[in-house]
């Protein structure tokens, strides 16, 4: 791959991550879900460097069908843990893109993500979630689709309160 193409892919990937972050911040979870490939997974490990989602618990490990239930739930009028709805601001940076390594993966994008979260109401929580994320992407006629989104939180194995919305 020549340098110009690399820069092109990197800026395309960066634009994708920013668009994804904006959907999450806007609470447009249906549209966010649609970014996943039909065989896509969303994984937030619960241990640093976790290699295995089957033999160790995760904060989240969901394929598109289970993630679909999560998104539907967030649209329910009585989803108490997300009411009032958390407000979030994602910041994505330190983006690098490399050609995809696995089958059906065209591009692997690594970045750092921070999500500031404010939960209005009596809890009035202000929290900061941060970590490294990896997006394995597939190029389709409809645009990039997520084959795997993995978020490695720096405090993935810490004591947490409720995490009501996707990071």
């Amino acid at each position: 791959m020549n340098a110009a193409v690399e820069i092109d892919v990197k800026s395309e990937a960066e634009a994708f991550l920013i668009a994804e972050a904006r959907l999450l911040d806007a609470g447009r979870f249906d549209e966010w879900l649609a970014l996943f490939a039909e065989d896509g997974f969303y994984w937030v490990p619960a241990a640093p460097g976790q290699s295995d989602p089957l033999n160790h618990l995760s904060i989240l490990y969901e394929d598109k069908s289970v993630l679909g239930m999560r998104v539907r739930r967030l649209g329910h009028p009585r989803v108490y843990s997300a009411q009032p709805a958390p407000r979030t601001a994602h910041l994505v940076g330190n983006v690098t893109a490399a050609p995809g390594a696995g089958p059906g993966v065209d591009c692997e994008v690594r970045s750092t993500v921070m999500m500031a979260e404010y939960r209005p109401g009596q809890a009035a929580d202000r929290r900061l979630w941060a970590g490294q994320q990896t997006h394995k992407l597939r190029r389709t006629p409809e645009g990039w689709r997520i084959v795997l989104k993995r978020v490695d939180l720096i405090d993935c194995d810490a004591v947490h309160g409720i995490l009501a919305v996707p990071i």
């Binding site: 033999n55 069908s65 999560r70 739930r73 009585r78 004591v159 309160g161």
Partner: protein
């Protein structure tokens, strides 16, 4: 002083049909709970599989104490208070590991696995009568540590009823989870989930066997699961488990009423008949389950296997700090941190000798129920925090727990039993609470 709360004052706060808000909000009552309940009762500390070899240790909390549960060279399990007897620094930072002893980072006092003070630097500057063998210089040890089929409990009371006496018939859930292992042994595996909520510890226990809340609190997950096509091709990692865990809170009033609730004088309780409905049953007609069942039959024979797998008790609360689910090999430890702050620690067990895929189901159950992103527990925790917020109001003073009152049946040994839609477990917990809190020192 906490002990200045007179027994008669406490008795005025707990009535059969209601309890006073100060049980959830008064720091003086919390202090007394730490002395009279968490300072005396048998509390779950660890599982023996976490400390198999000499030198293996795991941290735990025993009431107010930060303790190190450790297996000494003689194989005996001790629980040592994590505080150097010199200037008070913690001698252990790791959550678990293996060590030859405990060295204080501050002035290098070193302690053995039995807690004995082994060495101090520069002996000549200490008084001549300074004696390493002085028991006051050893790491403080929890006076009683006992194990029931691999489950290690500790009590800060030097005497009193034995662990087996305290557990009584609720020990059946420990038997059941161990008996489910084809090799007769279980081990903690798959990581540990920890969450904290801003509410009193008792809110967790009341909720565990509260049959009326799921239809309301978990409505959003039931509804999301029902909206799912039942026949979608569930990926192997999940096998519809998330779906069924969410659906399991969707019983109607008649189904909840058909369950039974059992409470014990020690404060323990469980829900019976939950799996009969088949919604959450681990007993699936698939190759993994058939293979598992065959291995269990090889160990126990058909009759006992049917009995072990047919055990239908859900959310077994071992008062005051642990809840066990045998069917999915889950354990949840409830640790009070302050009157309005509680930690929930959860993990699962591997049934030794069972197919690996069965363990994956336990891990999946743990992720679904006990992760911070759980679509079930998160709503419970949200409600605990709203209750704590509501109880900050000085008025009204009372919380009602009268559902089913008058229909509780008392059976042999003092256990109380009722149909599902009842606040019997609340009443059993508070009857025990009052007895512990008013017992003489």
């Amino acid at each position: 002083m906490p002990d200045s709360i007179a027994p008669d004052s406490l008795r005025r706060l707990v009535l059969p049909d209601r309890v006073h808000r100060s049980l959830y909000t008064d720091p003086a009552i919390f202090d007394l709970e730490m002395t009279r309940i968490f300072g005396r009762c048998w509390l779950f500390l660890a599982h023996e599989s976490q400390i198999r070899a000499p030198g293996d240790f795991v941290r735990a909390r025993l009431g107010r104490e930060d303790v190190i549960v450790v297996r000494a060279r003689d194989g005996r399990i001790r629980a040592l208070v994590n505080r150097c007897t010199h200037r008070g620094a913690q001698v252990c930072q790791a959550e678990r590991g293996n060590t030859a002893g405990f060295a204080c980072p501050y002035h290098a006092w070193t302690f053995g696995l039995d807690g004995a003070l082994n060495s101090v630097p520069h002996r000549q500057s200490l008084p001549p009568d300074f004696d390493l063998k002085d028991p006051r210089l050893a790491l403080a040890a929890v006076p009683r540590v006992e194990s029931y089929r691999g489950f290690v409990f500790g009590s800060l009371a030097p005497g009193g009823e034995s662990l087996v006496e305290h557990l009584g018939p609720i020990a059946a859930v420990i038997d059941n989870v161990v008996d489910r292992a084809p090799d007769g042994e279980i081990e903690q595996a798959g990581g540990i989930a920890r969450q904290e909520y801003r509410g009193n510890w008792k809110l967790h226990h009341e909720n565990a066997n509260d049959t009326l809340h799921p239809g309301f609190v978990h409505e959003s997950s039931v509804s999301a699961a029902r909206g799912d096509p039942r026949d979608y091709a569930a990926p192997a990692y999940d096998g519809h488990q998330t779906h069924t865990q969410m659906l399991s809170n969707g019983f109607g009033v008649r189904e909840w009423q058909s369950l039974s609730l059992t409470g014990f004088p020690a404060g323990h309780s469980y829900m019976g008949g939950f799996y009969r409905g088949g919604v959450l049953s681990p007993d699936r007609d698939d190759p993994v389950w058939r293979e598992y069942r065959a291995r269990l039959v090889a160990r126990h024979g058909e009759e006992k296997t049917a009995r072990v797998l047919g055990e239908d008790r859900f959310n077994n609360l071992l008062y005051p700090n642990v809840s066990i689910n045998a069917q999915y090999q889950q354990i949840r430890i409830v640790t009070p941190l302050a009157v309005d702050r509680t930690r929930v620690t959860a993990f699962c067990f591997r049934l030794k000798g069972a197919p690996e895929a069965l363990f994956h189901r336990a891990v999946r159950f743990l992720t679904n129920l006990s992760s911070p992103a759980s679509m079930i527990l998160s709503d419970d925790i949200e409600i605990f925090e709203r209750v704590q917020g509501g109880l900050a109001n000085p008025e009204p003073e009372w919380l009602d727990q009268s559902r089913g009152l008058g229909a509780d049946r008392t059976e042999a040994g003092g256990r109380t039993v009722s149909a599902g839609l009842s606040e019997l477990p609340h009443r059993a917990q508070y009857a025990a609470w009052l007895r512990y809190m008013t017992a003489a020192a």
